[in-house]
C-alpha cells in the first residue's frame, strides 16, 4: 500500500474529477459528497506518504513499471510529502467552506464545479510529487487550465481577470517548457535526479544558463513574484471566495515549491543557479516592500489581501535567496504559515461578503459586532500576517531574520521588519473599522447580518486555531518535518 501512495495522491482526484463530472449530471448533491470523500482520501494518502517519507526516506514510484530515466518517476520525499499534505488539506477545507456557495449554483453546475476543482487539486498535487521536469509542465498546465475555469466562476469582471491570467500563465508555462527543453538538449534526460546527476561539468554551457533564466522567470510569473504579479490582484478579488481561499493559500506556493525544487534539488545551485540567488534576494526584498505598499493603497479588502500575498511571497523567496538551511527552514515554514493565515483571511472576508454583500473597507464599519467569531478569526490571522507572537507568522519571520543576520545580509532583516510594520498598518485599517466603526442601521424590516453559517464558520475558526497552534508548536513542525525536507548540502 505504502508503495502506491505517490500515485494515489494524484490519481484519486484526477480520476475522481471524471467520476464527479458524470455523477453531477444526475445528482449534484451526491457529486459533492463524492468530491469531498475523494479530497479526504487524497489528503489521507498525502499525510501517510509524508509520514512514511520522514520515517524511512523518499517513496519512489515508477509509472507503468518503467524505471527512470526511461519512464516517469514520482518521488515523495519529506518536502514533497509536506507540500502535498498542505495542498490536499487545503483543498478539502476550502471545499467544505464552499457549501453555501455551491448551493447557489444550479445542481448541474455544482457537479461541474466540483469536477474542475478536483482537476485543479490533481494538477497541484502532480506538480508536487512528480520527479520529472516535463511531467511537471503537464501538471502545471492542468492546474492552470482548471484554475482559469474556477476563477472565472465569479462572474462579471472575474472572466476578464481570468483571461488575463490565462494569457500570462500560458506564456509563463511556455517559458518554463523552453527552459526544460534547454536542459534536455544538454543532458538528454527529463528525470530530475538524472538531470541533477548529469549537469555538473555542463554548467558552462550557455544552454544551461538560458534554461535557468527561462525556468526562473516562468515560475516567477506563476508565483506572482513582484514585478511579475500583475495577474494576481484581479484574480483574487473577483473569484468566488472558496476558490480564492484555496488558490491564494496554496497555488502560488506550489510554483514556489517548483522553483525551490529546480534550483536546490535539480540544479544543486551549480553554475548560473548560484548567480540567480543574489538577484532573487533583491527582487524579493522589493516584493516584500512593494506588495505591502500597494496593499496600503487599496480600498477593497480582498485587494488588500491580494497585494499582501505579493508581499508575503517576497518573504518566501527571500528565504530561498539567502539559501542557508536556516533560511530555507524559515521559507518553508512561511509557506505553511502564510497558506493557513491567508486562507483564513480570505475565508473571513468571503464570509463578510456573503453576509453583508460588502468587500469595501467602508463596508466593514462595525461588522465585528454582528460577526464576532468571523472577525475574531480575521484578527488572529492578521496578527500572524504582521508577525506578532505567539502566532505562526512570528516564528517564520524569526527564522528568516536570524538567517539574514547569520548570513551577514542584514538589509534583508530590515526589509522584513519594515514590511511587517507596513502590513500592520493595512491590517489595522480593516480591523479598526470592523471593531470600532459604527455599523449602519439596517434598512427597516431587515435584520442585521448575523454570524456565518456553521459550514463556513467551522473551517474559518479551524484555520484561526491552526494559526495559533503553528505558532506555539512550531518547533515540533520544524524538527519533525521541515528539518527532513531541506535540500542536500550545497554542491558546486
Amino acid at each position: 500500500m505504502t508503495a502506491h501512495l505517490p500515485i494515489l495522491i494524484v490519481v484519486l482526484p484526477l480520476a475522481g474529477a471524471a467520476a464527479v463530472a458524470l455523477l453531477g449530471l444526475r445528482a449534484g448533491r451526491a457529486a459533492r459528497g463524492l468530491a469531498l470523500a475523494i479530497l479526504a482520501a487524497s489528503a489521507a494518502c498525502a499525510a501517510a506518504a509524508l509520514a512514511a517519507a520522514v520515517r524511512t526516506g523518499p517513496l519512489r514510484y515508477f509509472l507503468g513499471g518503467w524505471a527512470p530515466p526511461w519512464g516517469i518517476e514520482y518521488v515523495v520525499d519529506p518536502l514533497a510529502g509536506g507540500m502535498a499534505t498542505l495542498v490536499a488539506v487545503f483543498a478539502l477545507a476550502a471545499a467544505v467552506y464552499a457549501g453555501p456557495f455551491v448551493e447557489r449554483l444550479r445542481p448541474r453546475d455544482a457537479g461541474a464545479f466540483h469536477a474542475v476543482y478536483l482537476l485543479l487539486t490533481a494538477g497541484l498535487l502532480g506538480i508536487v510529487v512528480t520527479g520529472d521536469l516535463f511531467n511537471l509542465y503537464v501538471f502545471l498546465e492542468i492546474s492552470s487550465l482548471a484554475a482559469y475555469g474556477l476563477l472565472a466562476l465569479g462572474g462579471g469582471r472575474s472572466v476578464l481577470a481570468s483571461f488575463r491570467y490565462l494569457l500570462l500563465g500560458t506564456a509563463a508555462g511556455t517559458l518554463y517548457l523552453l527552459g526544460v527543453g534547454c536542459l534536455y538538449a544538454v543532458t538528454g534526460t527529463l528525470n530530475m535526479a538524472d538531470v541533477g546527476a548529469r549537469l555538473p561539468g555542463q554548467f558552462d554551457s550557455p544552454a544551461v544558463t538560458m534554461a535557468i533564466v527561462l525556468i526562473v522567470v516562468g515560475l516567477a510569473v506563476k508565483m506572482a513574484l513582484f514585478p511579475l504579479h500583475g495577474w494576481l490582484p484581479d484574480v483574487y478579488t473577483y473569484a468566488p471566495a472558496p476558490v480564492t481561499a484555496f488558490v491564494a493559500g496554496v497555488m502560488t506556493k506550489v510554483s514556489a515549491y517548483a522553483l525551490l525544487r529546480v534550483l536546490f534539488f535539480v540544479l544543486g545551485l551549480g553554475g548560473a543557479a548560484s548567480d540567480v540567488l543574489p538577484v532573487l534576494g533583491w527582487v524579493a526584498s522589493a516584493a516584500a516592500l512593494a506588495g505591502s505598499v500597494m496593499a496600503l493603497a487599496q480600498t477593497d479588502v480582498r485587494r488588500i489581501l491580494a497585494y499582501s500575498s505579493v508581499g508575503q511571497m517576497g518573504y518566501i523567496v527571500l528565504g530561498f535567496a539567502i539559501g542557508t538551511p536556516l533560511a530555507l527552514t524559515g521559507a518553508l515554514l512561511h509557506v505553511l504559515n502564510h497558506a493557513v493565515m491567508k486562507a483564513c483571511l480570505f475565508l473571513s472576508a468571503g464570509t463578510v461578503l456573503y453576509r453583508t454583500g460588502e468587500s469595501q473597507l467602508h463596508g466593514y464599519e462595525g461588522v465585528a459586532r454582528h460577526m464576532p467569531l468571523t472577525l475574531g478569526a480575521f484578527a488572529i490571522a492578521a496578527a500572524s500576517l504582521v508577525g506578532l507572537p505567539p502566532t505562526g507568522g512570528f516564528f517564520s519571520k524569526w527564522y528568516l531574520l536570524t538567517a539574514a543576520f547569520d548570513a551577514g545580509r542584514w538589509p534583508f532583516a530590515v526589509v522584513l521588519a519594515v514590511s511587517s510594520l507596513l502590513s500592520a498598518v493595512y491590517m489595522f485599517r480593516v480591523i479598526e473599522r470592523a471593531y470600532l466603526g459604527e455599523a449602519p442601521e439596517p434598512a427597516p424590516g431587515t435584520a442585521p447580518p448575523g454570524e456565518a453559517p456553521a459550514g463556513m464558520l467551522a473551517p474559518t475558526l479551524a484555520l484561526a486555531a491552526v494559526v495559533l497552534l503553528l505558532g506555539i508548536f512550531n518547533e515540533q513542525v520544524v524538527s519533525h518535518v521541515i528539518a527532513f525536507a531541506l535540500p542536500p548540502a550545497r554542491g558546486h
Partner: protein, 495 residues
C-alpha cells in the same frame, strides 16, 4: 504545587480568568469574582516564591520548546520576582478600584475591559519571569496588543487617535527590539539572561552600539524615554484604573524593567562602559527627567500631569541602570516598587475625584481636599514621596541612585536628582494647595469604599516602604540581591 510549576501557573491563571470573564458577561458579579479569584491566586503563587528566591534558590521552568535551541523559559530571579510582586499586588488592589470605578460610571463593555485587563497581567508576569530574550519578547508584544483595547475603551475619536498613536509607537519599537534580539541570537546562540551580561567579546564596538540603540528604542517607548514618550500622555484617555495599573505600573514598568534587563543581564555594565553607552543613556534619562518635569508644570489636566510625572520618574530607573553601580541598580529596581505604589495611588485619587465630581482640570479642584480628605491626603503623601521626602518610599530609591551616581564616578547626576525633586514639589504642591486651601469649604464626602480603600492601602504601602523597605515582601532585599549579582557576577550565589 512544586515551585517551578508556579511560574507558568502565575501566568496562566489570569489568562484562564480572561476566558471565564469573557464567558460570564451576562452576570457581572460572577464575572468580577473571576477577576478577584485570579488576582488572589496569582498573588499567592508569586508570594510563595519569595522565601526560596530570597534564600538564593533557582526556581525555573521551561514548559515548551519554542524554537530549536530556545525554550519558553521562565525563571524567578530576585529582579523578576520583585517586578512580579509589585504587579500582582497592585492588580489585586486595582481590581477593587476597577469594579468601583466602572460601576460608578456605569460604563459600557465592562466584560471586555476586565478580560483584557487579565490578559495584560498574564503578559506582565511573562515579562517578569522571562529567562531569555525570545520569551521576553513574546510577552512584551502580547502586552502591547492586549493594552490597545483598554486604551480605546471609550471609543471616542480621541480614544481612537490615542490608540493609533499607541500602536504606532509600540509596534515600531517592537520591530526594533525584534531585530536586536534576532541579531543577538546570532551573536550568542541560545543565550539567556545572565547577571553581568553575556555579550562581552561577542562583537565589535560599532555592532554593539547599534544593537544597544535598537534595544533602547525597543524598550524605551514603553519606558517613555524622550523623545519616545508621545503615546503616554495621549493614552490618558483610557479609563483611570487602566492609567493607574498599566500606565503607571505594568506597561511602562515593563519598558523600564526591560531596560534594566538589557543593561544588566544582556550587555553588562562593563560592555556598556567600554562602548560609551552608559553615559549616553544616563544623559538621555537625565534630559527626560528634567524635560518631563518641566512639561508637567504646564499641564492643567490632572491625569496628563501625572503622565508627565510618570515619564520623568521612569527615567530614574533608566538612569540607575545606566549608572550601573550596585547602589544605583538597587535604587532603580526598588523604584519599580516605590514609584508603583505612589503613582498608582495618585491615579486612584484622580479616578476617585473624577468618579465623584467629574472634574479633571487641576484649576477646578479648589476645596476638593476638604471634601475628600482621605483621597487628597493620600495624594499629598505620595506627592511628597515622589519628590523624595525621607521616610517615604521615593526617598529610598532616590538616595540609592544618588549614592550609585557617586559610586559610578558620575556625581554630576546627583544634581539631576535634586533638580527633579524640586520640580516634583513645584508641580505637585500647587495641586495639594488648591485642593486644601482654595474654594468653598464643604463637608467630607468621600467617593465610596471601593474607591477610597485601594488608595488608602497603596499610600500606606508608600509610607511603610519608606520606613521599613523590607516589610512583608523583602522587596529591598531582592533589589539589592539582584544588583549585587549584576555588579559582581562572579560572586553570585546561584542563578
Amino acid at each position: 504545587m512544586p515551585l517551578p510549576d508556579r511560574l507558568p501557573a502565575a501566568i496562566l491563571v489570569s489568562l484562564a480568568a480572561a476566558l471565564l470573564i469573557a464567558l460570564s458577561g451576562r452576570r457581572p458579579n460572577v464575572r468580577e469574582s473571576w477577576t478577584f479569584a485570579a488576582a488572589a491566586i496569582k498573588l499567592l503563587l508569586v508570594v510563595s516564591l519569595v522565601p526560596a528566591v530570597a534564600r538564593g534558590e533557582v526556581v525555573e521552568s521551561s514548559p515548551l520548546a519554542l524554537l530549536p535551541g530556545i525554550d519558553l523559559h521562565f525563571r524567578a530571579d530576585p529582579f523578576g520576582l520583585l517586578f512580579a510582586l509589585v504587579a500582582s499586588t497592585l492588580w489585586l488592589v486595582t481590581s477593587v478600584f476597577s469594579v468601583g470605578y466602572m460601576r460608578a460610571g456605569g460604563y459600557a463593555r465592562q466584560t471586555s475591559y476586565f478580560a483584557w485587563f487579565a490578559v495584560c497581567l498574564s503578559a506582565t508576569m511573562g515579562i517578569a519571569f522571562a529567562a531569555n530574550l525570545v520569551t521576553f519578547f513574546i510577552f512584551y508584544e502580547i502586552l502591547t496588543i492586549a493594552t490597545y483595547p483598554l486604551v480605546i475603551h471609550f471609543r471616542t475619536d480621541e480614544a481612537k487617535r490615542a490608540g493609533r498613536q499607541y500602536l504606532a509607537y509600540t509596534l515600531v519599537a517592537g520591530q526594533a527590539l525584534l531585530l536586536a534580539i534576532a541579531a543577538v541570537h546570532v551573536l550568542a546562540p541560545g543565550a539567556e539572561f545572565q547577571p553581568g551580561g553575556f555579550l562581552a567579546g561577542r562583537a565589535g564596538t560599532p555592532v554593539l552600539a547599534v544593537l544597544f540603540a535598537l534595544f533602547i528604542i525597543g524598550v524605551g517607548v514603553k519606558a517613555g524615554i524622550m523623545p519616545l514618550h508621545g503615546w503616554l500622555p495621549a493614552a490618558m484617555v483610557a479609563p483611570t484604573p487602566v492609567s493607574a495599573l498599566l500606565h503607571a505600573v505594568a506597561v511602562v514598568k515593563a519598558g523600564a524593567f526591560g531596560c534594566v534587563r538589557i543593561v544588566g543581564f544582556v550587555f553588562g555594565v562593563d560592555v556598556l562602559r567600554a562602548i560609551g553607552a552608559d553615559v549616553a543613556l544616563a544623559i538621555a534619562a537625565s534630559i527626560t527627567i528634567v524635560l518631563a518635569s518641566i512639561r508637567a508644570l504646564g499641564e492643567g489636566h490632572l491625569k496628563r500631569r501625572l503622565a508627565y510625572s510618570t515619564i520623568g520618574q521612569l527615567s530614574y530607573i533608566v538612569l540607575g541602570a545606566a549608572l550601573g553601580s550596585a547602589a544605583a541598580l538597587a535604587g532603580a529596581m526598588f523604584h519599580i516598587a516605590a514609584h508603583g505604589a505612589m503613582k498608582i495611588t495618585m491615579f486612584f485619587c484622580a479616578g476617585a475625584i473624577y468618579a465623584k465630581t467629574h472634574l479633571e482640570q487641576i484649576e477646578d479642584l479648589g476645596g476638593i481636599g476638604r471634601r475628600m480628605p482621605v483621597t487628597m491626603g493620600a495624594f499629598a503623601v505620595c506627592a511628597l514621596g515622589l519628590a523624595g521626602t525621607p521616610l517615604l518610599a521615593g526617598f529610598i530609591s532616590k538616595w540609592n541612585i544618588g549614592l550609585g551616581a557617586y559610586q559610578a564616578g558620575h556625581p554630576a547626576f546627583i544634581a539631576v536628582l535634586l533638580a527633579s525633586g524640586l520640580l516634583n514639589f513645584a508641580y505637585f504642591m500647587p495641586i495639594v494647595r488648591t485642593a486644601f486651601l482654595d474654594g468653598e469649604g464643604t463637608k467630607p464626602d468621600e467617593a465610596g469604599i471601593a474607591l477610597a480603600l485601594p488608595l488608602a492601602l497603596t499610600s500606606a504601602a508608600a509610607i511603610l516602604l519608606g520606613i521599613f523597605p523590607d516589610a512583608g515582601l523583602n522587596l529591598y532585599h531582592l533589589a539589592w540581591e539582584a544588583a549585587r549579582q549584576v555588579v559582581s557576577p562572579d560572586t553570585r550565589g546561584v542563578l
